[in-house]
């Protein structure tokens, strides 16, 4: 069934028109990638879904319910998680506290934290350290852990490989594909081979609109269709 | 009867304090940097005038013409502003407000206990050593000077054969002249290319920098200019009152009053703060205990009659007492309520809102309408 449905969303930052009618759908259990050049509206699409920047026009439906106009924390409570660009972990909280704060109220915190540390054993080692002292890769793992303990049905993942060494990117990719077994992912990723590798389907965004879409397994990273929109 | 404007004496306060509020708005309203220590410059101007008059400043005689004193006070304050600004403009937002507040409080606390300025520095200095009055006009030409002050000022009789003014009225017009000149000077600066850069800094400092302006020097320049006029305002205050106290000059709540005037009058509209302060003074006088300018209480006494005034409202509290308790001398409360309402609902202030409605400065729009211009 359709988990997420964005219809003709128009979003503005102040007076600048960023999304000019984005429409897309995500089925339950899918991994969908959003690709496109910098500044075309990929991150804004995720923010629009979360109602961090509510659309002025158009609708966002999650499990058939209209999200537009709701508070972000309500959207999050409905099972939408966010792993933002540059990770945005809480640098002044300890690693464990970063995970703990993401555990929903009705869930047993200790159990959730244990589970997160089982998934990311590296983090257990640094549980009491300030998260700001972690390396970029560790921070990305922490951001993932934070997204996963929320028991979200839909994870919005923004540029998970950005600024990481190739070896670390591999581990992040592995963690994401593990996560994809239980949850639905909507993924923004500049690294096209990685995006196509993880995703089942993709949308190409350009100038605030969806200009193309396709099946990830049938499309190569150097496909002419993609290169048109991705090369500068 | 209820008069619309406060009496002349209050209007003099409106003029010089309005000038101070304008100078505050010049830096805070136009560049967006909240100068929370602006009272330092007002106080510098006020103290400078009195210290010279008391022969405490070397090389300046007690009889130095008042106009020179105002300019010198302005220059001293401008230098002080450059010193303070040089370290403060590396900061912005709340931090800028706090560092300027810090500087002004250091000065306030220092002046409050510095026995050089007065025998009792807590009460502040008064003019003791000067025999000449503080005159406004062309220095050196006696016939083109009029002295200000309630007791020491000049009065004019039979000007043009029929106009006569008392000392307070003369003070009002002469101080008004200086304030008007300062207003036009600031107005010129705001509308010059320099002023355009200031507004650009307020709107988007990064962009102003990207376009190639060294915003630091522009901010510092604007700070010095605003300090200059703040000190002139302080000098007028000292010249008219002939005594000042730390609380009425250097204290941070003096800046607070300017802020109040600016918000009510219109932040970033040069003339606005003057109207804002006029508004504040009008309310204050309307609710003052004595009601000299024709305040609320005498009016009610005249019109309600003794029977109504002694009507019991609640538990022995009569209407008269209620007015006494909740209105008289408590203008702060109502001014505060009005201020908060302005911040919430009319953030552009009186003048700013009128301009928004008219679509431009009031003078220009009214003039255009009178001429019958079509937009």
């Amino acid at each position: 069934m359709t988990l997420l449905q964005v219809e003709n969303a128009h979003t503005y930052y102040g007076e600048s028109h960023i999304l000019e009618g984005v429409s897309l759908e995500v089925e339950e259990g899918e991994v969908v990638a959003l690709v496109g050049r910098n500044g075309v509206g990929k991150t804004t699409t995720l923010r629009t879904i979360l109602q961090l920047t509510a659309p002025r026009e158009g609708t966002v439906r999650y499990r058939g319910e209209d999200l537009t106009g709701r508070e972000t924390h309500e959207v999050a409570d409905m099972g939408v998680g966010w792993i933002p660009e540059e990770r945005r972990i809480f640098t002044q909280l300890s690693v464990e506290e970063n995970v703990r704060v993401a555990v929903p109220k009705d869930r047993d915190a200790r159990e959730a934290i244990e589970q997160a540390f089982d998934t990311f054993p590296d983090l257990r080692e640094f549980a009491d350290r300030d998260a700001g002292t972690l390396s970029g890769g560790q921070q990305q793992m922490l951001a993932l852990a934070r997204g996963l303990v929320g028991e979200n049905d839909l994870l919005l993942v923004d540029e998970p490989s950005e600024g990481l060494a190739p070896l670390i990117v591999e581990r992040v990719a592995e963690a994401l594909s593990n996560a994809a077994e239980d949850t639905t992912l909507l993924l923004v990723e500049q690294n096209l081979p990685l995006a196509l590798d993880l995703a089942d389907r993709f949308y190409v965004i350009d100038n605030g609109q969806v200009v193309d879409e396709g099946d990830a397994d049938e499309t190569a990273a150097d496909d002419e269709r993609l290169r048109r929109y991705l090369s500068a | 009867m209820v008069t619309v404007l406060p009496d002349v004496e209050t209007m003099i306060t409106v003029l010089y304090f309005g000038l101070f509020a304008m100078s505050f708005d010049f830096i805070s309203g136009y560049t967006g940097y909240l100068s929370f220590g602006h009272a330092a410059f007002y106080g510098t101007g006020a103290y400078f005038v009195i210290l010279v008059a008391n022969g405490k400043i070397p090389m300046l005689g007690t009889g130095t013409p008042f106009i020179y004193l105002l300019v010198l006070a302005g220059l001293v304050a401008a230098v002080l502003a450059v010193l303070i600004g040089a370290v403060s403009f590396r900061l912005s937002g709340v931090y800028f407000a706090m560092i300027t507040l810090g500087f002004s409080q250091v000065l306030y606390v220092f002046v409050r206990d510095w026995d050089f300025v007065a025998s009792n520095p807590r009460d502040g200095p008064a003019v003791l050593g000067r025999t000449e009055p503080f005159s406004i006009g062309v220095p050196g030409v006696d016939s083109l000077n009029l002295a200000i002050g309630q007791l020491a000022g000049d009065s004019v009789e039979g000007l043009l054969g029929f106009l006569s003014f008392g000392t307070t009225e003369v003070s009002y017009y002469m101080i008004g002249l200086v304030v008007l000149a300062c207003y036009f000077a600031m107005q010129r600066i705001i509308h010059s290319p320099f002023g355009k850069v200031l507004v650009a800094i307020r709107e988007n400092e990064e962009r102003a920098e990207a376009v190639g302006y060294n915003t630091f020097w522009y901010k510092l320049g604007a700070f010095a200019v605003s300090a200059f006029f703040a000190a002139v305002a302080g000098g007028l205050f000292a010249g008219f009152q002939r005594s000042v106290s730390p609380e009425s000059s250097f204290y941070f709540l003096v800046t607070g009053d300017a802020l109040l005037a600016s918000i009510i009058g219109g932040f970033g509209t040069l003339a606005g703060p003057l109207y804002g302060w006029l508004f504040d003074e009008t309310v204050t006088e309307f609710l003052s205990k004595s009601g000299e300018g024709g305040g609320l209480l005498p009016y009610l006494r005249d019109h309600l009659g003794e029977a109504t005034m002694t009507t019991e409202l609640y538990n022995g509290l009569t209407i008269g007492q209620a007015i006494d308790t909740f209105l008289n001398g408590h203008a702060e409360l109502y001014v505060g309520v009005i201020f908060v309402l302005f911040v919430l609902f009319i953030p552009n202030g009186l003048l700013g809102t009128v301009r928004d409605r008219l679509g431009g400065p009031v003078g220009k729009q009214v003039a255009a309408r009178l001429r019958g211009d079509e937009k």
Binding site: L52, E71, T72, H73, A76, D77, G81, W82, P84, R88, F90, T91, Q92, L93, E97, R100, V101, P104, K105, A109, R146, G150 | G32, L34, V87, S88, R90, L91, G93, V94, Y95, A97, M98, I99, L101, G102, F103, Q105, V106, V109, F110, R112, F252, L253, G256, L259, I263, T325, F326, H330, E332, L333, V335, G336, V337, F339, V340, V343, L344, P347
Partner: protein, 336 residues
């Protein structure tokens, strides 16, 4: 001439360095630090989470002093013993905390909430306007009820248990009971807030929200509601501080207490780093010590009554020049 001044100075320095003098300056400094941390603690919580520099904070402290005084005057009779008075005082602390927290909550929901979308200057303006209103309302109430015929509120001061007015002998030095009491209450307040911030789920949420409100919201937490709670908490702490000051003759309940506590609170909060509670605690100790040291020098050697106050503002200015983000502030976090 120079030699005489210098000799006097060296003599005074010798006096100052004597153990008993150093010890009493230390205790005095801690007592002042306790007061500073209490008047600044709520302010820093509010700023840390919401980025609102609450100019009405001093007024809330002042209202706390009056409410605390009123409650004490009502509850304590002339015959009440010291222990009873102390017990009533702690109940009073709880009540003023609750009342001020209520006031803070109302202010946040009714006024401040409307301004989050505007530039931060508007929050300064609004809370500044609020001080005018609150201060004048208190002035009216005090006049109306004839509560305070002289500038010292004797009735409230008179509710102090006898042993807080006595000196306590600590061997080397004797210190006033009130100073010790202030240190105890200040330390308890810090410990309580510290435990709340680090040991409870709500404290965790507050710390997360202080660093990144948007991210916290996206984790399913209603940050707006946390704002209300923190504003109420901050106001409540101010009320507790006011109640403590009500007994201290150096402060006392009066309308100017609002401005008198607001400025040092700003200084402490900025020196510590806007919005870091840990920084505020350290800064309070620094400012308290600077205050007590300069007070000693004023009393004994330097005839300049404003020396302590001036030193405090000079520390503020120096800090903003050298390290504007404060002792524990993080540059980007401080850049609200």
């Amino acid at each position: 001439m120079m030699e005489i001044v210098l000799a006097g100075f060296i003599d005074a320095l010798g006096q100052f360095l004597r153990p008993e003098n150093l010890a009493s300056v230390l205790v005095d400094g801690l007592a002042k630090a306790a007061i500073y941390v209490m008047i600044a603690g709520g302010l820093t919580l509010i700023f840390g989470l919401m980025g609102v520099l609450n100019f009405a904070h001093g007024s809330m402290t002042m209202i706390g002093a009056y409410l605390g005084g009123l409650l004490m005057v009502f509850a304590v009779g002339g015959a009440s013993g010291g222990a009873t008075r102390l017990l009533v005082f702690f109940l009073t602390l709880a009540v003023t905390f609750a009342l001020l927290a209520g006031l803070g909550g109302v202010v946040e929901v009714g006024l401040i909430r409307r301004l989050y979308d505007r530039p931060p200057v508007y929050q300064i303006l609004l809370t500044f306007g609020l001080t005018l209103i609150l201060d004048e309302l208190v002035r009216i109430a005090v006049l109306f009820y004839g509560m305070q015929p002289t500038s010292d509120w004797q009735a409230a001061l008179g509710t102090k248990p006898w042993f807080l007015s006595e000196s306590v002998d600590l061997g080397l030095i004797s210190v006033s009971g009130l100073s010790l009491f202030e240190i105890v209450v200040g330390a308890a307040t810090v410990a309580g807030l510290w435990a709340f911030l680090t040991r409870t789920r709500y404290g965790l949420v507050i710390r997360a929200g202080s660093e990144d409100a948007e991210m916290t919201e996206a984790l399913g937490i209603d940050v707006r509601r946390v704002f209300t709670v923190v504003f109420a908490l901050g106001a409540g702490v101010a009320g507790v501080a006011g109640t403590l000051l009500m007994w201290d003759p150096a402060w006392g309940a009066s309308v100017p207490l609002a401005a008198d506590t607001l400025l040092p609170a700003f200084v402490v909060v900025i020196i510590g780093g806007l919005g870091t509670f840990r920084g505020t605690v350290v800064a309070a100790v620094i400012v308290g010590m600077a205050d007590s040291v300069t007070t000693w020098w004023f009393v004994n050697e330097i005839d300049f009554a404003s020396l302590p106050e001036m030193t405090i503002f000079l520390i503020l200015v120096a800090m903003l020049i050298l390290r504007p983000q404060g002792i524990f502030g993080v540059e980007e976090v401080g850049g609200h």
